[in-house]
Symmetry: D2
Subunit: 344 residues, 4 copies
């Protein structure tokens, strides 16, 4: 039985992790913590979990968590994790950071895009970017896993086979992404009010969204050259889901068959479905699944590659469980729902 | 391993049943059937289930289903089940009818409210009204289970302890109920279009909704006298969920403590949570849970009893699984999720 | 040209008033004010009004407003208006209070339900309850108008003809009301976040909602006796709209024709539509219209009377404009849209 | 007083036109017609318009319409208009076709993308593409106006200044567009059901959407060369609104100031607002306004130009009114609301 801690258990990603772990047969959540709600029962904050997760929330104290747990999940705002994690902590427990602090290999890139100091840059070299479908072999044995971002998971998995196999031009790539509102978190912000979000759609974070360098880092590694791409997120009036509509120019001579071959790298992935129709976020809601499809336009020479995930599952808590399963030698799919109900 | 059939597997209730059974450890779905989509893969109709429920849909043929399955779930429009089920079928398989055909003990009441003929009235006496929290002892050994309606499950469970214990006047009871739109089914009707439902709320089925006699039947049995009550459903712009706000006049001398004692009959029910705050449908979404609370108004002498369920789970497919579990001696909670994620 | 001031112009009700006045041919908005945003342009806060309402917001200073304006609209939290309005202000300008401070004739009732002190109880006797369909004759010449609440406008207008004509029992009345989320205001509260409201419905304010005594005051006056009724509001995942489903017991011998006669008091009302089908909030969205219908249930002896309004228009800003039109001798419908677009 | 007819008055676009004309001071709607609902009152189909538009619907008979009206609006499925309009009709009345039949100059392009025959190709040369901000000078005196499509209006107006002024490369242009569900019409289709649209987003019409050639036609004319671009629409769970997020590569040496100068062509347009923040569809809801902004990304060399409209107003009925106003010498803004309320 793996003993788990969660720091930041009452944000949307942390709470989803509590939900997933409560149904995981091989994990016991021994240290659920929340800075805002320490001392209260988890189910007082999330009444949907009454009777299932009634444990009292602890303080966000990583030292204590490391004493009691084998794995510590961090679901904290940017900058907090890098100030908490130390070599000593990592000797005691595996850390899976759902936040952004260890995702970018280059401290300078992190500090530029996040506009905050990185407090443990010496650990960056030890962190593994926990996108199992791309880096599965690096995960076992790792003590510090940077769980990818929501937009980034969706975007990277959708475009990776094209870049890895040099099927598209590396310049001119455009990712037009759409997210449900849970991606904005549970903070009491004007822009997150029902009446400000409902019945509207808007772009935001233009040319400056923090997930941009993370996507570029991974796709550059795939392509073997530096890539600068355009990433534009949009806010959609729905609770969950990310859709990435990605545009790239096919290299000369590339056929649909070449593209299909490239995507076949995912053929035996338990959480990726290659489909023939455009993905819809409802079909992955509540699951760790990524739906991917593509369409080539002979008229324009473009390929449109599309991916959909649940931002709180494959884009956060679910992928964290997937990473944990791999690290601890459990079945990779354990604790992660397979099919999406409808309507949900 | 219980072998199951579903006739009507591609309506919303039937599809939810496919989803639940696909995660049930002791059941194999051997005969999924759909009149409209026979010959197609289930996951072509519900792409969220690709990779999980790819079996080909069969014809809605109860004879064939009875040959292959131990239990047949019927998720069909009113009137179809009563023309299909026979004593011979029931000798071969247990039938759990998610529809309305066997819920009302009195054929005349059925034909009056449903305005259709009942084709097998001789079976009514054998049917058990499958509301486990009220009639659990009648379910084992039953061959024909009438799975309660969505509004009715919510309304009956909310009011039952008050009537059983004679805490409220039996006249003047009002149930103001609200339902998500999946309750209207998957038919291509103008009134179910997104643009006709979204951003609005409306009452419907005034003084004539078919769930009225079903609620009255069960509450009359509880009270030991005939009850006529007011039931008014409303359509809410959300996918799932039923909320029943029930009003009754407390009998003279009844105290809050008496009421609390009455509801304690549910204290060890696995799917009922007695809570102190008003229920919200989001806290039971996707689960088989019923959240119930009440409030007494000293000013008016009324009690307001409130219940919330997921109409497709406890109000249909989940309760059907619960009934099946009881009939076949399985753990009653098997295959039924416990906690509700948030936001979902 | 009537010169108008609005204090609290950037809440949802205040902003709706800015929108309505910007299309009103006989009014000039000379003093739009906002405590939170003074010094900014209105259209910076509400970008939908760019090019239409770009004026700079002033301080919430009623003295200055009274110097410049003929009418002052107050759209402020409870308790603020009663501390601002004085006899001197009323000599200079007509005050239309969209808030609650002058609605209840009895200071003690106000202080009990609102749990705050009333700062100008001496003005209560001068205030007119501005529900034109009931008290139109009291409005001309008034200097202080208490604009009714949203739930109350809908509930009172729906039930008034029944009580005025003694068609229903005065005990046992139940109002089960449903509101869109704009009724919760623009405050940055957890419970108003998109992800906390969307895909759910809940009751709130049980047995204690502040609109209760206001409804009781007006219906008691209509009935000629003290009425205590049950009022239960619910939060609906939509921007706008209030639906009141009202239940009462018909007095013995009352016929449908009697009821129809009673409602015919509204026959020539410009903003009331008596309809044959249950009202839906979408059909009054954006308008000052009240849709009312009723249904008698011979089985139970109840009448179900239903009304729908737009909470920000007839429930707040629109009714305020209607009151202003009457006070200043303008066409009562001026500046108020007639028909509701669909879908909206 | 201009006398108007509408054929197809009960679709969403036609009904919006009824709403707009009912508030237009210089127009009388003398011939509202509907194939499906002829003989019924308009307000029976759209109860929000009770008391405002109670006229009885006529047959979709263009001959009769031309006898009675000065202007005939056609809001019909593709292919119907081209079979109805004749030179004789045009001699009697101005025709404003909200549908697609006269938008494309080249019959072959029409028949290829619409997969239907064009029945009056000889009239194509007489039709004016009614996008006033681009072709205002062609509209007065015209007898046949092709009202632009919803996606196209938004896309063309957003990109036009860039192409007209040769500020961007003409290859590699990408339009990622998002639409509310009213764009799918009022047909009873599975894909338009609330439960199939709500809580999800999806791309559709990939590489084949019929608005593509219309956008290309207009932008090619602006650029003076043939343009093939990528247009991808998405369905958003909201009633109204279109957002076009457009990507193009800035030509070498082009500065932000050049771009700003180009967009200044719209400076005195009554319905275009050039704004500094990304547009949101809620800010134009219910209005004829187009909100446009842009952002240059120095890192990638791209410009992101964004536009938002209400698909039923500027994208259909509102623009039709605008065209009518111009043809008949009325004030161009007459009958068209200026500011958007919030929340709506």
């Amino acid at each position: 039985m793996v003993k788990a801690a969660i720091l930041g258990a009452t944000g949307y990603a942390g709470a989803e992790l509590v939900r997933l772990l409560s149904g995981h047969g091989d994990v016991e959540l021994v240290y659920p913590a929340s800075h805002s709600y320490a001392g209260k029962k988890f189910s007082d904050i999330y009444p949907g979990m009454r009777g299932v997760a009634d444990m009292v929330l602890r303080e966000d104290d990583i030292e204590k968590a490391a004493e009691e747990a084998d794995v510590i999940f961090l679901a904290l705002p940017a900058g907090l994790a890098s100030a908490m994690v130390t070599g000593d902590i990592l000797r005691k427990a595996v850390v899976i950071d759902i936040g952004a602090d260890y995702r970018l290999h280059d401290r300078a890139v992190y500090e530029k895009w996040y506009k905050t100091e990185h407090h443990s840059p010496e650990l960056l070299a030890y962190a593994v970017y926990g996108l199992p479908e791309i880096h599965r072999d690096r995960i076992p044995g790792s003590r510090l896993i940077a769980n990818p971002g929501c937009y980034t998971t969706c975007s990277i998995l959708t475009l990776y086979p094209l870049l890895k196999n040099r099927l598209v031009e590396t310049s001119g790539i455009i990712i037009d992404a759409k997210s449900g509102t849970s991606g904005s978190g549970r903070g009491e912000k004007l822009g997150s009010l029902f009446c400000e979000v409902n019945e509207s759609i808007k772009p935001y974070g233009l040319v400056s969204h923090r997930h941009t360098p993370e996507i570029e880092q991974e796709l550059s590694e795939a392509a073997g050259e530096d890539i600068a791409l355009q990433f534009t997120p949009h806010l959609v009036p729905m609770n969950r889901g990310i859709l990435a509509t990605c545009y790239a120019r096919l290299r000369s001579g590339v056929t649909e068959s070449d593209v299909r071959d490239a995507y076949s790298m995912y053929a035996s992935e338990p959480f990726i479905r290659l489909i023939d129709t455009p993905p819809e976020t409802r079909f992955v809601k509540g699951t760790n699944t990524v739906d991917i499809s593509f369409r080539i336009d002979g008229r324009t020479g473009n390929i449109i590659a599309m991916g959909a995930i649940d931002n709180l599952v494959k884009g956060a808590a679910g992928q964290a469980v997937q990473n944990m399963n791999i690290v601890f030698g459990l079945e990779e799919t354990e604790g992660l729902a397979a099919g999406a109900g409808m309507p949900f």
